[in-house]
């Protein structure tokens, strides 16, 4: 109860401060462009890594083994790749145009109207999907970590995050996310270390699985190399299309902040992802040895916490998961609110209001929609996260990556890519369970690949802006 009271007080203070600090759109959507590499790197990691890592990841390891790690193996590369491919041109464009949103980047590059509207639609749909992951994670972990019913936990965490995000936008969100990133890293290392220690150490855990479930340890596991490499590439290059990652470049104070951004991001990423490896490997070994009983893979984290780990680790886990949920939710709420309140009106010829009321209301509406989806979603947590990530990749990767690196990329090609990419992705998501030959196709990447081919084919030099 004390922790809950402290959290509520912190949230209330943050919301009150945000109401006064966020007075204009630049403060609300771009944190007044005050971020240096440390804040942006930590916030970027916190925003990008969510309950998916603490709950979905270890659970996926329990069912797929080492194959699940192909989702995160690109972590050493993604910070630098983002900066090389999209970060530098984004920062350059922001300096010249003052863009506040990711759809806005595409509007500056390809002209107003359809590019911004299609990108904004993808942002809203993908953000709600990924926000639903956070809601669902809170619902799963509420009874275990907080001792309250799942829907209560989901409602409390969502309401808390929505309140300070609606009040202060990224002006509040950036420092909150940076702090949450530190908390997540420290707690993740503690969780990983204690889970592995409970299993007898990494070598003992590996030996247990080698004896009982050797297929879990093979590089490709039960998913096979094609699917595993699909995940590697989806989460490697797909980071360049995630609007909650791209948003961090919009917040930077200057170009020089880019130099050390990959280093901060990569190291903080590695610290947090240690929980996927440590809790996944150690927890799965504990299940294999019979010390932990598992009902569903998503339940691995709470099962290990309650069965074998000391109480202080439970507290660390609760704090870390709440931090992870809130940090990711903050960015997703803000970018979705920007899409609804700013990008959609601009794309159809209306100027957004100078007041932030619309953005604040949009934040609350997106939070409500995510709650509904998250509590009703019938499938696994990790799959919902991959769906959201894939939607962003399919829709935005060609337009952002090609558009910012090739002056020949034209409006017609960009619009085709923005529309066709997610259409292909969603069609594959629907057909894969029904058609065996499509089982190894990665929908997000396939959508992005089709979008890329369309963009190149349809671009003409005379269409370039």
């Amino acid at each position: 109860m004390t922790a809950a009271f402290l959290l509520a007080a912190a949230v209330a203070l943050a919301a009150l401060w945000g109401l006064s600090a966020a007075r204009d759109a630049e403060a609300y959507f771009a944190a007044s462009r005050l971020a240096g590499p440390l804040a942006a790197g930590l916030a970027g990691t916190a925003a990008g890594l969510s309950a998916f890592v603490f709950v979905g990841g270890p659970g996926l390891f329990a069912s797929l083994g080492a194959a699940s790690l192909w989702i995160v193996l690109s972590a050493p590369l993604t910070g630098a790749i983002q900066c090389w491919l999209v970060g530098e041109p984004v920062v350059a464009q922001v300096r010249s145009s003052g863009t506040l949103t990711v759809p806005g980047l595409l509007a500056v590059r390809f002209g107003e109207g359809a590019p911004r509207l299609l990108a904004a639609s993808a942002v809203v749909l993908g953000a709600i999907s990924m926000l639903a992951v956070q809601v669902r994670a809170a619902a799963i972990l509420g009874p275990t970590l907080l001792g309250i019913p799942g829907w209560t936990a989901a409602l409390a965490v969502t309401a808390a995050t929505a309140s300070y995000t609606a009040a202060g936008g990224m002006r509040t969100g950036l420092p909150a996310e940076a702090l949450q990133g530190v908390v997540m890293g420290v707690a993740a290392l503690a969780l990983a270390g204690t889970a592995l220690a409970a299993a007898g150490g990494p070598a003992a855990a590996w030996r247990t699985l080698a004896r009982t479930s050797p297929k879990l340890l093979s590089a490709w596991g039960s998913v096979g190399p094609l699917s595993a490499m699909g995940w590697f590439l989806l989460f490697g290059i797909g980071t360049c299309a995630q609007p909650h990652y791209l948003q961090k470049f919009l917040l930077l104070k200057d170009r020089n902040a880019l130099r050390w951004l990959p280093a901060v991001g990569t190291l903080s990423l590695a610290a947090v992802l240690a929980v996927w490896v440590g809790l996944g490997l150690g927890g799965t070994a504990l299940v294999a040895s019979g010390r932990v009983t598992l009902k569903t893979p998503d339940a691995l984290t709470p099962a290990v916490l309650t069965a074998v780990l000391p109480p202080w680790v439970n507290l660390a886990a609760a704090v870390a998961v709440i931090a992870a949920i809130m940090s990711t939710a903050t960015s997703l709420l803000n970018i979705a609110a920007a899409a609804v309140s700013r990008d959609v009106p601009l794309s159809v010829g209306f100027s957004p209001s100078s007041s932030l009321t619309g953005a604040r209301l949009a934040t609350l509406a997106v939070a409500a929609a995510s709650m509904a989806l998250g509590l009703a979603w019938p499938r696994g947590l990790a799959l919902l996260g991959i769906l959201g990530w894939g939607t962003f990749t399919a829709a935005l990767l060609p337009a952002v990556a090609l558009g910012l690196n090739w002056r020949g990329a034209g409006r017609r090609g960009a619009v085709a890519a923005l529309a066709a990419g997610p259409a292909v992705q969603l069609a594959l998501e629907a057909l894969r369970p029904r058609i065996a030959s499509l089982a190894t196709w990665e929908p997000g990447l396939t959508g992005a690949a089709v979008g890329t081919l369309l963009m190149v084919a349809l671009s003409r030099r005379k269409d370039s802006t």
Binding site: A66, L77, A210, G230, R259, P262, G265, L402, T446
Partner: protein, 114 residues
């Protein structure tokens, strides 16, 4: 990578990926994945000059070889082998510091004049 080659490289990689999935060609998927990640870094070459450009080109060359070599080795030996987990973790750990440091080392002055 010159800016003018960006669409050709992107198209080639996209086609390679789709073909690999359609035909179940795991070696082609490995080449496409390694190529896409390497090309993403190489896309910044046209924004670099002088020694920063040379450093980035060399770094991307090494990274491309490591990614391609690593994945093809895993394809060759990885199926059903219990050493797969330590192998992939070791590969990731080996890149953890060098890649972000490579970025800092290749971070040059402002874009070259157009």
């Amino acid at each position: 990578m010159r800016e003018s080659t960006v669409p050709a490289v992107a198209s080639l990689l996209a086609l390679a990926w789709i073909t690999a999935q359609a035909a179940g060609l795991t070696w082609l998927a490995a080449l496409a994945a390694a190529g896409a990640l390497t090309a993403s870094g190489a896309a910044a070459l046209h924004r670099r000059t002088g020694r920063h450009r040379r450093r980035l080109a060399a770094g991307m060359g090494v990274l491309g070889v490591l990614l391609t070599g690593g994945m093809t080795c895993l394809l060759a030996v990885g199926g059903g082998d219990v050493y797969g987990l330590p192998a992939i973790l070791a590969g990731a750990a080996a890149l953890l510091l060098p890649v972000p440091l490579l970025y800092a080392w290749t971070f040059g002055p402002e874009d070259r004049p157009k």
